[in-house]
């Protein structure tokens, strides 16, 4: 009789241990490595803001005196009074691939905090969203926390090849998405 009682207690204890272990594994794998939300959120805003804080004329007044980041498109820049963020909009309106420009500014300067964060950049026009960076697919769909920040850009340039006609572009929404790997 006492053997059966001991058997029941042991079985009960084993079941409890199994359930506790499963609970621990589920909880530890779900929450203990929670991504740093504050850093990710601010990073998207910071990247947009820092590109909106400098004019093209300040870092690339002419092609002989141009920062490395803008060298690749220097000859294509139409309005140097634009900010760097607006330059992305201007170049998009002209059909120029801005992937290298964005890569030069953010990745080559290592502006992302550490190596554990990633970002993508989209532009929204009247026809939907278009991915400007990166060209290859990233795992943003798998990100547990994905933060998006957007800024509206619009502008104009004087087209010297077309009788100095003023061309307007935009408005576009430029969106940066950031997440932790």
């Amino acid at each position: 009789m006492s053997n059966k009682k001991a058997y029941v207690f042991i079985l009960d204890a084993i079941m409890a241990l199994i359930i506790l272990t499963i609970g621990f594994l589920v909880i530890s794998s779900t929450y203990s490595n929670k991504p740093a939300l504050v850093t990710t959120r601010n990073m998207a805003e910071d990247l947009l803001n820092v590109m909106a804080a400098v004019k093209v004329s300040e870092i690339c007044p002419d092609c002989g005196n141009c920062a490395a980041e803008l060298n690749s498109i220097c000859g294509d820049i139409k309005n140097r009074d634009n900010t760097v963020l607006e330059l992305i909009g201007e170049q998009y309106s002209l059909g120029t691939d801005t992937g290298q420009l964005i890569n030069e500014i953010i990745m080559e300067n290592k502006l992302l905090p550490g190596d554990s964060y990633e970002f993508s950049l989209y532009i929204h026009d009247g026809n939907g969203e278009h991915k400007l960076y990166p060209g290859a697919n990233q795992d943003e769909d798998k990100a547990r926390i994905l933060i998006s920040s957007k800024k509206l850009v619009m502008g104009y340039y004087v087209d010297k090849d077309n009788d100095y006609k003023t061309e307007y572009w935009g408005p576009y929404l430029i969106e940066i998405r950031t997440w932790q790997k």
Partner: protein
């Protein structure tokens, strides 16, 4: 005999459920207050606060506006750095709960030609990072874990993209290291 066995099983079941519930409560309480990051005291908000103070609270000592760091202004600020300036940088943090004492170190680094260089720095040079280097010598470019001297209990580093204005304007990074002593 069968009745006795049923009583034993019932009693065992009840005791088992009670012990199980108690164990679950202890288990989740332990996780809630000690293990999970979500309930740990963190300094992320304080670091953002310091970033805002640099822009808005330094008055005539200001060297940082709209993501732009003025190199000469920074040099002036850092050269005669004193307790009053430290108070301006940390202003408002005393109203936040959880921490009673704080110190910080700020440096600006720039990645160029395949290596990191430190452009500017000021603050407590006894705050070191995981590599053992301080704000004044950490040119690894990584996002290190700050190693704060006693009695500080918590640490954080926040890295922000900025524009560094010297003879030209360059994209660079501001690193804010904060150490704090938690209120127990």
């Amino acid at each position: 005999m069968k009745k006795g066995l049923a009583q034993i099983i019932s009693f065992s079941l009840i005791v088992g459920v009670v012990i199980f519930i108690i164990a679950l409560m202890v288990f989740f309480s332990a996780i809630k207050y000690t293990l999970l990051d979500t309930h740990k005291k963190t300094l992320d908000v304080q670091a953002e606060w310091v970033f805002d103070n640099l822009e808005n609270n330094l008055g005539e000592n200001g060297f940082f506006k709209n993501y732009r760091v003025n190199a000469s202004g920074f040099d002036t600020f850092a050269s005669d750095y004193d307790e009053e300036k430290e108070r301006l940088v940390l202003s408002g943090l005393e109203q936040m709960q959880d921490f009673k004492d704080m110190d910080f170190c700020i440096y600006i680094d720039k990645y160029e030609s395949g290596q990191w260089t430190i452009k500017e720095n000021f603050g407590n040079d006894t705050i070191t990072v995981s590599s053992g280097k301080s704000c004044y010598s950490n040119a690894d470019g990584e996002m290190p874990e700050p190693d704060c001297p006693y009695p500080f209990t918590h640490a954080v580093i926040v890295q922000k993209p900025i524009l560094y204005e010297d003879s030209s304007i360059e994209f660079a990074r501001m690193n804010i290291l904060i150490c704090a002593e938690a209120i127990k």
